[in-house]
Symmetry: C2
DNA sequence: TTACCTTTGACAAAATTAGTCAACACAAAA
DNA sequence: TTTTGTGTTGACTAATTTTGTCAAAGGTAA
C-alpha cells in the first residue's frame, strides 16, 4: 500500500533532484516537501501536479492515489466506510449522466 | 438523491419537533440546524447521532449518507473520482483484514 | 572543516469552520 | 391587530485547522 508521498519521493530520487532543488522548483519550503513525502502533511492537488510535471511523469495515477488518500482519511476507522463508498459511487455515477 | 439534511428534516417533522425544540434538545443554535437541514452547512457525525436518537431512528443509514456526502464533497468534480473510490475501497478492505 | 542533504519542532499567518445573535418574514391563533 | 410560534438570513466573532517560515541539528561524504 504505497502512498503518494512515497511514490513522489521515489520519483524525485530517480529524477536526481534533492529535496531542496525540487522544493525550489515548485516554489515551496523544503521542510514542507519533506513532510509531505513522509506523509506528515497532506499534499495539495496542485503540488502533486507540479511535481509530476517536474519529474516528467504522467499525473493520472498520482492524482488517483492522492484522491483516494483523501477519501480514506475522511473515512478513517468508520464502521460503515465501505457502504459509504458504495453510496458515493452510485451518486457520482448518476451525476455524470445528468 | 436525498441528502442527510433532507432526511433529518423529514424525521424531525414526523416526530413533531419544531426546529427550535430539536435544536435545544441537541444543544445547538436553531440557525445552525436550519442551515444543516437545508445543506447550507455540513453536519457533524456527533449531531447526526444525536438527532437520530432524538427522532428514535436507526442511525446507520443516516451515518452512511453523512459519510458518503463527505466523500462526494472531497471528490467534487474530479475526473478520476470513481477510480479513486475503487482504490480507496481496496485499501480499506485490506486494512480490515490486518 | 566544509558542503550538502534531510528532519524536526517552534512559531506565526492565513484560511476554514463553528457558534452567536438579532432582524426579518410568514402564518395562525387569540 | 397584536401576539405567538415557525423558520430563514446575514453579519459578526470565536475557535480550530491548515499552511508557511525559519532556524537548529543530525547525517554523510569530500
Amino acid at each position: 500500500m504505497s502512498t503518494v508521498g512515497l511514490k513522489l519521493r521515489e520519483l524525485r530520487e530517480k529524477s536526481g533532484f534533492s529535496l531542496r532543488k525540487a522544493a525550489v522548483a515548485i516554489d515551496i519550503d523544503m521542510a514542507i516537501l519533506s513532510k509531505m513525502e513522509r506523509g506528515e502533511r497532506k499534499f495539495s492537488k496542485e503540488l502533486v501536479l507540479k511535481l509530476a510535471k517536474l519529474y516528467n511523469t504522467d499525473s493520472n495515477e498520482l492524482i488517483i492515489g492522492f484522491l483516494s488518500e483523501k477519501v480514506i482519511y475522511e473515512l478513517a476507522d468508520e464502521e460503515f466506510g465501505i457502504e459509504a463508498l458504495k453510496v458515493a459511487e452510485k451518486i457520482i455515477k448518476y451525476k455524470k449522466i445528468q
